[in-house]
Symmetry: C2
Amino acid sequence: MDGGLVRVRIDLAYEGTDFSGWASQPGLRTVQSTLEEALATVLRLDSRAPLTVAGRTDAGVHARGQVAHADVPLPAWKSQPELGALLDRRLPPDVRVQSVTAAPDGFDARFSALSRNYAYRISHGPTGPDPLTRRFVWWHRRPLSAARMNDASAALVGLNDFAAFCRHRPGGSTVRTLLGLSWRDDSDGLLVGTFEADAFCHSMVRSLVGCLVPVGEGRRPVDWPADVLSALVRDPAVNVAPPHGLTLEAVRYPTDHEMAQRASQTRRPRRSD
Amino acid sequence: MDGGLVRVRIDLAYEGTDFSGWASQPGLRTVQSTLEEALATVLRLDSRAPLTVAGRTDAGVHARGQVAHADVPLPAWKSQPELGALLDRRLPPDVRVQSVTAAPDGFDARFSALSRNYAYRISHGPTGPDPLTRRFVWWHRRPLSAARMNDASAALVGLNDFAAFCRHRPGGSTVRTLLGLSWRDDSDGLLVGTFEADAFCHSMVRSLVGCLVPVGEGRRPVDWPADVLSALVRDPAVNVAPPHGLTLEAVRYPTDHEMAQRASQTRRPRRSD
């Protein structure tokens, strides 16, 4: 609490289909502006309290375990003990607030996070995904080998410069720790890839999927993704997989008393050497 | 095959949200007319071949294992060995054809069926269903006891007159064999009810759900649904649960050589005595 403000942690989920992504953009329907507007209305704020988010999802990308924070005036916060339920009543059905809590000291939804966990879902059966799940499953028409994709994925895990899989941002580092990347073949031709990293740069998961899918098809050798990685430049042969197969599943944070330390550590620029 | 026609079995799935149910109705978007139109176009038929279906789902109800049949001219059928793929290309994304095959002798999608299997999905957590699944999960805001609902459900299984749970149709029997009815509490506050019967009368599953939910809440005693059943008339205290939680999951058929026998047996009027 600072200057009469309280930092509020919001856990939420959304279907990205009808949103132009998380981040506010003038004239577009985004998750951030939808939630900021609901928060300002329910708390009767004079101006919106800006939200900081753990994972800035792109247009069409979904979230089931997104985390955001906002600093709101203490009296407003105290006046609404049922804030989560009120927000849910105010929000459209494609965004759901799961919980709203006073954040522990030093909490920052973005910088305190230890890791982000994404899932990428691919239907590789001949008839396409179940129509009930088609909004969050990519229909790739050719069969894929999970075993080949797992072999190729293992070579990408670890502390690496992922420049080959990131949209370039001047001055931004592309060094990340990929903590885990694996594929499992569920029933009915549904293949689910699980990605965990300290953080992901822009379009990184979808570029990794786009590089691993040709390996799963057998069109590229198993060591191709590692070759692409080590080249350190974007390879035009790598397609970026479509957004609707991607879901932010969870964000991990340290224990409450390690929160501030983690945030100050993460704010330091990353180095690859 | 009869008179130059071949009976074709179509296995399909659909999201019911944007359909006015299965059965054709003038001026409305229905699954039947959408599929009949696609079939006529792909096979270049002069007029639509009418479809017969295993489960006539209501507006908003989904299907993952629906089965239909149509009788189509033999030359047209022979001209399109890739009929399933062609239909899928023609159909909107909320209907998927899983397979198209020449039906065995005596097959009738409706009358040969041994049983229909429906699932009803309820989110009974405080925050509502995952936004990714909200189109096929009913958000019931109060917590439900699966154990109480299972106890109440067990008393309904068997050969019964389900008049209390059916929309009345003059001359139609309401005697059905409910082969199974059970509830399981999945992770994240999702409760799934599984219903299997030789056949269901109109609105039967949704009426059963509407009668069992107050038991799960603790507002009604566990033996209330059995009392409603034995009264043989609709009880105004029973609400019909909303359609979007309901999905036709599967239809069971006998082995090929028993198909015709099953169809002629089912066509006989049901009796409860």
